[in-house]
Subunit: 451 residues, 2 copies
């Protein structure tokens, strides 16, 4: 019997939002208040669970200006929304974005551990460094730290959070009514962290969950981001798969970096976000895609674009002439996304209008019939370009509904995707190894040395 686990496709969905296009809220079939409607989040989560998806994902950001596009202005905060979703689902993983800038690692560790406990081991943390200048101004600062410093802070922050999640061994809480023993204090551990950026004593006042500790996602695509992810993350929220060779190179690079840290290829999973539009015919799919694309207003699209360049004022450029070189604007903000947009504009000699519409509307890479979509997803998975996909519906809830009803059954028939959940925890469903408590590891190592 072979010991090799067969690679399994993973599926996930954005729970928030009104659609991948920034003006999809205008479509008659979508609730225009979805970003603040917990009913919409719960509906998306239940659809995802019906489809046996691995997890629901909530992105985040906080800084807004008069130029922010609709989606950003008012939105549910991830940890509250996921806790509400937890109470109304049973198997879906719950991935929330929380920043490592301008927050306290003790509080972040605690809220995630509490979500993990109350959901029965389904929580995950998408750790981001925060990318907008204005973020600092909501937290007593004036400027964002520069890119590489943000990553050094994030690194130490993640170490602290994981350390706090090991405050208790798995079986520390005895709760024996007969003997009166509530806890085994030998299984309580105090972190006593004193680092460059943080001082955190511990222990955390939360026992471990059935999955040991929450899963960690990272989204960085820069050199620093890749290295941190390869070392610390269980999963990566990666960029677009529009450029397949580039996505494959990224995939291989991450797995290679992880191997250098002694990790197996299946201990770090890579998930791009994609937008799927399904039709019974190619024509129907294309019509649905166009129907939403046409809602876009170029002025709103330019505002959306400028967010990725620290709210750079694009109005100085004519709408329909080729864009000049954009230099290094955006280098300390959403670095990789800004670079991607600059490269696309340069390579295609795009005008401002073309770049803005490109940035504000999902690509048409996954527009087609159920069989066409299933074929493309299968190919990207089998070619090791991705480990799975996070669906950003082109319209909520229709985009997800169509996918669950029409594409998931095909993926199941092909033996690519589960027909039932394998486990009650997110870690179990993702097939990730159980994280042995660091203090138990140390004790085991000491014992082995002594033997």
């Amino acid at each position: 019997m072979s010991q090799t686990k067969k690679r399994q496709l993973r599926l996930a969905a954005f729970l928030s939002g009104i659609g991948a296009n920034v003006q999809a809220w205008r479509h008659p079939d979508t609730a225009s208040n979805s970003p603040v409607s917990i009913e919409a989040f719960i509906e998306a989560a239940r659809l995802a669970e019906k489809g046996k998806f691995d997890f629901g994902f909530i992105a985040d950001s906080t800084f807004i200006t008069r130029d922010s596009t609709p989606y950003f202005l008012s939105r549910l905060e991830p940890i509250t929304a996921l806790s509400a979703v937890a109470a109304t689902t049973t198997h879906l993983g719950l991935v929330g974005t929380m920043t490592t800038s301008f927050s306290e690692p003790f509080t972040t560790a605690r809220q995630l551990a509490s979500l993990d406990k109350l959901s029965g081991g389904r929580a995950a943390w998408n750790a981001v460094t925060g990318a907008l200048e204005g973020h600092a101004r909501n937290h007593g600062g004036e400027k964002l730290y520069e890119h590489s410093l943000r990553y050094r802070i994030a690194d130490e922050y993640i170490q602290v959070v994981k350390g706090l999640w090991d405050s208790w061994e798995d079986d520390a809480f005895v709760r024996n009514k007969q003997t009166g023993q509530y806890v085994d204090l030998d299984k309580m551990h105090t972190l006593n962290h004193k680092g460059e950026f943080f001082g955190v004593q511990g222990p955390l006042n939360m026992e471990r969950s059935p999955q040991g500790r929450p899963i960690v996602f990272q989204a960085g695509a820069s050199e620093e981001g890749r290295d941190l992810a390869a070392r610390e993350a269980d999963a990566i929220f990666s960029g677009s798969v529009e450029d397949v060779p580039a996505a494959k190179a990224y995939y291989q690079d991450i797995k290679r970096r992880a191997a250098a840290y002694g990790r197996a290829a299946d201990e770090i999973l890579i998930f791009p976000s994609i937008t799927v539009v399904v039709g019974d015919t190619e024509q129907e799919a294309r019509r649905k895609y166009d129907e939403v694309s046409q809602l876009l207003d170029v002025n709103v699209a330019i505002k959306y674009l400028s967010r990725y360049f620290s709210f750079f004022d694009f109005s100085q450029f004519p709408l329909d002439e080729p864009l000049p070189d954009l230099g290094d604007i955006g280098k300390d903000s959403f670095k990789s996304t800004a670079e991607h947009y600059k490269r696309k504009a340069r390579e295609n000699n795009w005008s401002l209008r073309q770049l803005a519409l490109y940035a504000s509307n999902p690509s048409d890479q996954f527009v087609g019939t159920p069989v066409q979509i299933a074929d493309r997803l299968q190919q990207l998975f089998e070619d090791e370009v991705v480990d799975g996909f996070i669906l950003h519906a082109y319209l909520q809830p229709r985009g997800l509904e169509d996918f669950v009803d029409k594409v998931v059954p095909l993926l199941q028939q092909r033996g690519l995707f589960r027909t039932e959940y394998e486990a009650a925890t997110l870690r179990g469903n993702l097939g990730l190894p159980y994280p042995v408590n660091r203090y138990v590891q140390q004790q085991d190592a000491t014992k082995a040395l002594a033997a």
Copy 2:
């Protein structure tokens, strides 16, 4: 027709915990893991909602040591637990404790506003300053700020949070699919706070909820705490009503201070926590009370007591001789509680054992038949000693179940308590005035001046 609103009794319940006695977890009828069981929180919330209670309350603290008693070692974090409860209830108010020390006002404002939005206007914040030395050591510090500085910080913090909650006027979000207008930017306001302790630009990325903004609770009993509460709080989580004249003096003092700030008596509501044990006969009630009291171990009780004195080591005193004067220990921690315990010990010439058991077990003030309990509650309410009560069940869920089934109907028959919720929001049910957005107030004032 009279314009005077009849005073209405308010009822609430602690959602967390295994019982008011620190060792109630050993009782056969209670789930020993209640502090980390969201099912237990939800069960308590549903019972409270069945009883038409105004709100459920979650207390909090984070710093633990080897000497912490069971309840503190591992517990759900309030904002996550309340969000899960929100998704499984429809009318119950949701009061969460969050500290103004070692946290970011923007994040606190946002999480509470998000809970408020997703619950349809049922959130409240119990703002505390944090009272344990070790709290600082989990957040990069060494020592807690001294008591009055903590209150100055809390004061500015609450101002910032309320300011952020006014970032948007009530009707700022238009979301008109026909015209394409998502928001009216004239109704967006930027706080631009630069104070002694905090710099927060804003706006908050969350629109107002149906109750305008979350309710604010305060729990301080010191001079600084009373003044802050009288000025800023909608409600107070007050101390014990064991000493009725002292509780009445407190009630009058708070209402007098509020009046000095131009507030009506019914704009600030006072809620002590009480433990009720109901029996069909007096004997049965006493038997139930004794059954739980007997679970107490004096060593655990001493550990519990020491927490209110910054983990002072009481083992230096003999168990059964009168305690010496305790001097000023505890003055920078749970100041008012420590003072209360010292006074009780002095007045009664108590031994360490007596004081520890007193601190660790609820008083027997509300042990009796349903009629006896209803009589006592009615008296305290009508004598203006309290505006309502927060029930800390002697056993979860039995204590709450008994009260809802046997005492609530009596209070309803007497016309003291509602038989149906009056409103969908916590503010509406508590009869508190709607908070007009500060920027609208300013505009109205300017218009009045011009007219």
